[in-house]
């Protein structure tokens, strides 16, 4: 399952699995954010191409209005996915500590 909400520091915190079934609610949440947004992926266990599509659509929209989506707390597995898909060129990515 997936949980997505604002953390106490204003970052968007996502946890669980961002798969094809969970992408629509994630997209609905991210469609409402504005400006420079950090997505805390520390507890994001899994992402598929459907989840990548959510991030891409959000990044395009935010860049279009002068904002951006930044990814933090990214695990080694997610980092591999982002590199293989070329998302490391499209997003500022901060690895999880010790990764």
């Amino acid at each position: 399952m997936l949980a997505i909400d604002f953390g106490t520091n204003g970052d968007v915190v996502v946890s669980g699995r961002l798969d094809a079934a969970q992408s629509p609610p994630a997209q609905a949440f991210l469609d409402k954010v504005e400006g420079a947004v950090t997505l805390d992926c520390t507890n994001l266990e899994y992402i598929s191409s459907a989840g990548l599509g959510v991030l891409l659509k959000t990044q395009k929209r935010l860049l279009g209005s002068g904002g951006k989506l930044r990814l933090s707390g990214v695990s080694r597995h997610l980092q591999d996915i982002f590199v293989y898909s070329g998302f490391d060129r499209l997003f500022e990515i901060e690895a999880a500590p010790g990764k």
């Binding site: 399952m1 798969d19 094809a20 079934a21 598929s48 459907a50 599509g53 597995h77 070329g86 499209l90």
Partner: protein
């Protein structure tokens, strides 16, 4: 050891599929580090079958434990041929304005698993996609295939 199960052709089945793969990994003591790549590959292949197939038949998934990992087969019934191993790679160097999410799933699969093999039976209108993921082989960054693809006529 092989475990097999059939899943309703729906995106909602993904949670049940993940439960199935996790169950097999735990039962056969397969390295859990391989599970995210296996789940991603199964999800991408399964969702392709759901999106582009017009059949109402269930999709069968077989997971076989092999040396150092697993071999997984997805069998789709009453479908037209579509060789996933021939799908073009995504150009990841395009600027963001030109990037589209489509095609990323098959692009990723080629980099995450050891090999992918496609077979189609024209007589039974059945497609079967098999892939392997082991600890030994590195990701197939060159878009590797198990043994090429085949259009069987059985």
């Amino acid at each position: 050891m092989t475990a097999c199960r059939a899943f309703r052709r729906s995106i909602e089945s993904i949670q049940d599929i993940f439960a199935f793969t996790a169950e097999v990994f735990a039962r056969d003591r397969v390295d859990p580090a391989l599970l995210p790549s296996v789940d991603l590959t199964v999800e991408e292949l399964f969702t392709n079958m759901v999106k582009y197939g017009s059949s109402s038949a269930e999709v069968r998934i077989d997971v076989t434990t092999i040396e150092g990992g697993v071999e997984v087969a997805l069998t789709d019934y009453d479908v037209e041929p579509f060789d996933v191993t021939q799908a073009p790679d995504v150009d990841i160097e395009l600027p963001i304005e030109q990037r589209r999410p489509g095609g990323l799933g098959l692009h990723l699969i080629r980099r995450l698993v050891d090999c992918v093999h496609y077979e189609y039976s024209a007589e039974y209108r059945k497609s079967r996609i098999t892939f392997r993921k082991t600890q030994v082989a590195p990701p197939a960054c060159d878009g590797g295939h198990c043994a090429g693809s085949a259009n069987a006529r059985d």
